[in-house]
């Protein structure tokens, strides 16, 4: 569904992503793994158009999207949850969610209803300023906000960062069920490889901006050498 070919992005002389090629299949969770500084965030920001690639192509369903601006992504069915979650803390929970709906033109009450059903914790705090939410609640909020734009593919940047293991399990379980029940596709960027591989179908390992492995998730999880070298578990 989303395929990258020879994608490279640099910050001046720093080549953060080099010749990356892979395909994220429809209806699957594709995990992009790698240590801190491997280039994962850069990759995601290049896909969403926040950064421009040096060269290479990005195609969504065969259509090139690598020269489109980030504002166009929601209309294409891509929803990115940025690193650090990107909650707009000055707005209320409800307003954050509504913004997600506006990304697709308008707020559909049914969508709002569904997000509140998925995340009852948010429903209780609709009118609260997002500033007061806990880390886990914030992660739910941004995933809910992304869902409000009815995406076909969700791009998640380190959703587990800074969350308690129990919450991570809960959120990852939810992501997996969205994929299984509703056919959502997910590109999941994670340092926490063990958790990510536990729900992913496929895994891509980045090191210093390059792809060093691209295989089914269970293959990666069983490759002791790779795990020790790049995934830290």
């Amino acid at each position: 569904m989303l395929s990258l070919r020879d994608l490279s992005t640099s910050y001046g002389p720093v080549h953060a992503v080099r010749d990356v090629s892979f395909t994220a299949q429809e209806g699957q969770i594709t995990a992009v793994l790698g240590a801190n500084g491997a280039g994962k965030t850069t990759l995601l920001r290049t896909i969403s158009g926040l950064l421009r690639s040096r060269h290479g192509t990005i195609e969504l369903d065969g259509r090139r999207i690598d020269r489109l601006s980030p504002e166009r992504m929601p209309a294409l069915g891509l929803a990115q949850v940025p690193e650090g979650r990107g909650v707009i803390t000055e707005l209320t929970v409800d307003e954050n969610l509504r913004l997600g709906g506006l990304a697709r033109g308008r707020v559909r009450p049914a969508d709002l209803q569904r997000v509140y059903e998925l995340f009852p914790a948010l429903a209780d705090r609709r009118a609260a300023v997002a500033h007061v939410l806990s880390g886990g609640e914030r992660q739910m909020l941004v995933i809910g906000r992304a869902l409000m734009s009815r995406p076909r593919m969700l791009l998640l940047d380190e959703p587990s960062l800074g969350l308690a293991p129990r919450i991570v399990t809960q959120i990852f379980g939810l992501v997996r069920s969205l994929v299984e029940d509703e056919g959502l596709s997910v590109l999941l960027v994670e340092q926490n490889a063990r958790s990510a591989l536990s729900i992913a179908h496929r895994g891509i390992v980045l090191n210093l901006g390059r792809v060093v492995a691209d295989a089914d998730a269970d293959v990666l999880a069983d490759d002791d050498q790779l795990r020790h070298a790049y995934l830290g578990f």
């Binding site: 926040l50 504002e71 992504m73 707009i88 000055e90 307003e95 997600g100 990304a103």
Partner: protein
């Protein structure tokens, strides 16, 4: 006693106008982190537009409307042409640009309209309203001023709190990148924010001008009062700006009435220094919260 009441009433009127001007500054500060000092000459220019229209024999209200409209356009043009190019550069660039604009608009107005004082009409009486046999220190135009500012404030509240556009504008102001990922055209929102702020500033200009004299520098002290009012309110808070404007209007009115009008600006400076020393985050913040 009567002087006291009258001083308070005229302070209230002025305070509302300062509040409007402070609000214009806060709107721009919140979205682009620039204090638009050029707001003063911008409002001056639009007031002169109104004066030109009125002097050409048209009605006050046509001038009023065209002034607000030209404020809208001017604000948008300034954001697009002058401010946008330095987005993301050191803040000082944008500040210097607003000051350059300050000088340019001043000089342009002097070249085009001349440097002398000209009287500006008011649509309602500029004599005190009479209650029984006492004349109150509030004029028909003063009442109109207060009402106009209240209406504008209510419209802004509606825009920002209720409409989708307002939500997008706030998102763009608070978090540009996330807003972009959510499909918000951040650039357009900022332009619109500047345009609306400039309308509010223009309104303040028209209200200050009504029934009094205008010249190219007539808004210069108002931008100071607007700034002090905004800082009193914490610079980031629209409600704070309004409260700050009212407080400042009252204080300055008393200084003007009981001490001397020449010291009004000095009083504003003194109030500013006091607030910055004791409560840099504004009157409603915890003391000394915003150090450094």
């Amino acid at each position: 006693m009567q002087q006291l009441v009258n001083t308070a009433l005229s302070g209230l009127t002025l305070g509302m106008v300062y509040a409007a001007f402070a609000l214009a500054l806060v709107m721009i500060w919140r979205s682009t982190r620039v204090v638009n000092f050029a707001q003063a000459p911008m409002a001056m220019v639009t007031t002169f537009v109104a004066l030109a229209v009125i002097d050409a024999g048209h009605s006050y209200w046509l001038g009023f409307g065209l002034a607000l409209l030209s404020g809208l356009v001017l604000g948008a043009v300034v954001e697009r042409v002058v401010i946008r190019p330095v987005e993301g550069k050191p803040e000082i660039n944008a500040v210097i640009l607003t000051l350059g604009l300050f000088i340019v608009l001043h000089a342009l107005a002097s070249v085009v309209f001349g440097n002398r004082y000209r009287s500006f009409p008011a649509p309602f009486g500029v004599r005190g309203v009479e209650v029984g046999d006492t004349t109150l220190g509030i004029t028909g135009f003063g009442i109109f001023s207060i009402a106009a500012v209240l209406v504008v404030m209510a419209l802004l509240v509606l825009l920002f709190r209720v409409t989708d556009l307002g939500l997008r504008m706030r998102a763009a102001a608070y978090h540009q990148e996330v807003a972009r990922l959510l499909g918000v055209r951040v650039g357009r929102m900022l332009t619109l924010g500047w345009a609306l702020a400039s309308v509010v500033g223009s309104l303040a200009g028209l209200l200050i001008a009504g029934g009094s004299l205008v010249h190219p520098g007539f808004m210069d002290s108002i931008v100071v009062f607007g700034f002090v009012a905004a800082v009193l309110g914490g610079l980031d808070s629209p409600v704070g700006a309004v409260v700050g404007g009212l407080l400042l209007g009252l204080s300055l009115s008393f200084v003007s009435g009981y001490v001397g009008s020449q010291l009004v600006a000095l009083t504003a400076l003194a109030i500013l220094m006091l607030v910055l020393t004791l409560r840099p985050g504004g009157l409603f913040s915890q003391p000394a919260q915003r150090r450094v």
